[in-house]
């Protein structure tokens, strides 16, 4: 980490160019990731609209159109915040691909941030139009006030930062455990439910809602969605910002501690 901070933009620019070339070369893989990303929100959208219709049009304050808006925007937020490092780190460490990254004079996280942002830029060109299509076909109803839309931007950016930092830090477990797949899956399920991807959190039993607002997951995905849907009072949005910042600080501290310990622990396989 001998590189001066001023050089970082140049590093990112170079990485962006390389990544775009790489991702465009594997267009097929891109399309497949997209399909996987689309199916789940559509499934839950359909399930909950059916429930709402069966209950005379409304469930827990959500009408069919509200569910359509919720799950479509959830899809966008999820697409912009998700990371794949938890899945990927094990392979990276086990096969020794981490070694060359450590030799570069930049912290490896910058490589991953650039990779993540490029992938999202490219995939968003498809996810954006698809989201518009879904909003139209499922008759989504959205009525945010202007301040909701303005607040949406920082909540989304903080959610991206938080999810990236937290998942990257947890992925470092691969330094100690050679097979992280079970850990990874348990985490994935926690995210699935507690970040509001199966249902809006307000439909959960109160005890689960209380747990969800203490844990980081809600602040990674559901919170920006709730904000832009106009379901939160100004005070709740402010409290949410606090929770996001708090968890970002915790993740940063954890990352530094675990990274230092992990790097000492790492003995490159195949080196």
């Amino acid at each position: 980490m001998t590189l001066r901070l001023g050089r970082l933009p140049a590093v990112y620019a170079a990485k962006f160019r390389a990544e775009i070339a790489l991702q465009v070369a594997y267009r097929g893989a891109l399309v497949i990731w997209l399909l996987g990303l689309l199916i789940e929100p559509i499934v839950y959208l359909v399930v909950w609209t059916t429930v709402a219709r069966g209950q005379g049009g409304q469930v827990g304050g959500f009408a069919a159109g509200d569910f359509a808006a919720y799950f479509t925007i959830l899809m966008i937020v999820n697409q912009l915040t998700f990371t794949w490092h938890f899945h990927f780190f094990e392979w990276r460490v086990r096969n020794g691909f981490f070694s060359p990254m450590l030799l570069r004079p930049v912290h490896p996280i910058h490589n991953d941030v650039a990779e993540n942002l490029t992938f999202k830029m490219l995939t968003f060109t498809v996810v954006g139009p698809v989201a518009l299509f879904l909003l139209a076909t499922f008759g989504a109803t959205l009525h945010p006030e202007p301040w909701h839309l303005i607040a949406f931007v920082p909540t989304l950016v903080l959610a991206m930062v938080l999810r990236f930092l937290l998942e990257w830090t947890l992925a470092l477990a691969a330094f100690w455990i050679t097979r992280t797949v079970a850990l990874n899956q348990a985490y994935y399920v926690a995210v699935l439910f507690l970040s509001g991807q199966v249902a809006p959190l307000s439909l959960f039993p109160p005890a689960v809602q209380a747990v969800a607002s203490v844990l980081p997951f809600r602040w990674m995905v559901a919170f920006p969605v709730e904000t832009v849907l106009g379901r939160l009072a100004p005070g709740e949005v402010l409290a949410g910002f606090g929770a996001q910042l708090g968890w970002i600080i915790v993740s940063l501290v954890l990352m530094r501690v675990i990274w230092r310990a992990g790097i000492r622990r790492y003995s490159a396989v195949g080196a």
């Binding site: 097929g28 893989a29 497949i32 399909l35 996987g36 199916i39 789940e40 559509i42 499934v43 359909v46 399930v47 909950w48 059916t50 429930v51 069966g54 209950q55 469930v59 827990g60 076909t137 097979r179 797949v181 079970a182 899956q185 348990a186 399920v189 699935l192 439910f193 199966v198 249902a199 439909l203 959960f204 039993p205």
Partner: protein, 261 residues
């Protein structure tokens, strides 16, 4: 008889292979249990707000979760791993060794790779189906049980043929292993009755990726809601798929030149 011997041999090899990595059993057990809890929790969440979902009751959906796990397990024990191996073989040229063996090539590639620990899903799925049926208080007579078995076998045969056709495309397109990932995502949509979905998605799940026949139709049979016509259609379709995929496999094989040759 010889075919049965080959299948048995492949299974035994799979077991021996798996026994080398016994810790994987616990990892798979953990993953299967997490998968089961996830599916049941989603059902519980939905039925916390309603008593029926598009005409399906809670206990019928529990049975559906069971069939989802059971069929998913069957696919993951032998069909998916063997098809992955087949596509890899086309890409690397190792398929040549299989083709030179004096047995039916389709059979050989179809049972090539066995992931034994995935049988846990099959076992869990069976238990969940039994629980779902018991809760329904349905009397599943021998007639309905036979029909269920028949439709289930037909459904798995359709999925197998479908995956074989997809994998055979590798003879022309070579790099195709990701296509199984698409199938995996579509299979996830089978967690819920296909009747819920809007027409375009229902058509996709019935015709384009025939998940409906493997999951929804067997459950309908089990809860006694299946019309005799659907049963006939499913079995007929399975036969057509088996014949069609075999023809396509042979056709593809004629185009295969071998990557190493």
């Amino acid at each position: 008889m010889r075919s049965l011997g080959l299948i048995w041999l492949s299974l035994r090899l799979g077991v021996l292979n798996a026994l080398q990595y016994r810790a994987d059993f616990f990892i798979q057990l953990f993953q299967s249990l997490v998968g089961l809890v996830t599916a049941l929790a989603a059902v519980a969440l939905v039925f916390g707000q309603t008593d029926e979902l598009g005409g399906w009751s809670r206990d019928e959906l529990i049975a559906l979760v069971g069939v989802f796990l059971l069929v998913g397990g069957l696919i993951n024990v032998v069909i998916r791993p063997s098809m992955e191996k087949l596509m890899e073989g086309v890409r690397l040229g190792t398929l040549d060794f299989t083709l030179t063996k004096p047995a039916d090539a389709q059979l050989l590639v179809s049972v090539r790779q066995v992931e034994v620990w995935r049988l846990i899903d099959v076992a869990l799925g069976t238990v969940v189906i039994v629980i779902g049926i018991a809760r329904l208080g349905e009397q599943v007579g021998p007639e309905r049980a036979v029909a269920f078995g028949l439709v289930l076998v037909a459904g798995v045969a359709i999925i197998y043929s479908f995956l074989l056709i997809l994998s055979t495309l590798a003879f022309w397109l070579v790099r195709l292993e990701n296509i199984l990932v698409i199938f995996g995502s579509m299979y996830e949509a089978g967690r819920w009755p296909v009747g819920l979905y809007p027409p375009w998605l229902r058509v996709a799940l019935t015709v384009v990726v025939p998940v409906a026949f493997a999951i929804t139709v067997p459950v309908e049979t089990l809860v006694g809601r299946l019309e005799p016509m659907t049963l006939v259609t499913t079995v007929g379709l399975a036969l057509a798929f088996l014949v069609g995929s075999r023809w396509f496999w042979k056709f593809g094989l004629r185009h295969y030149t071998g990557a190493s040759a």
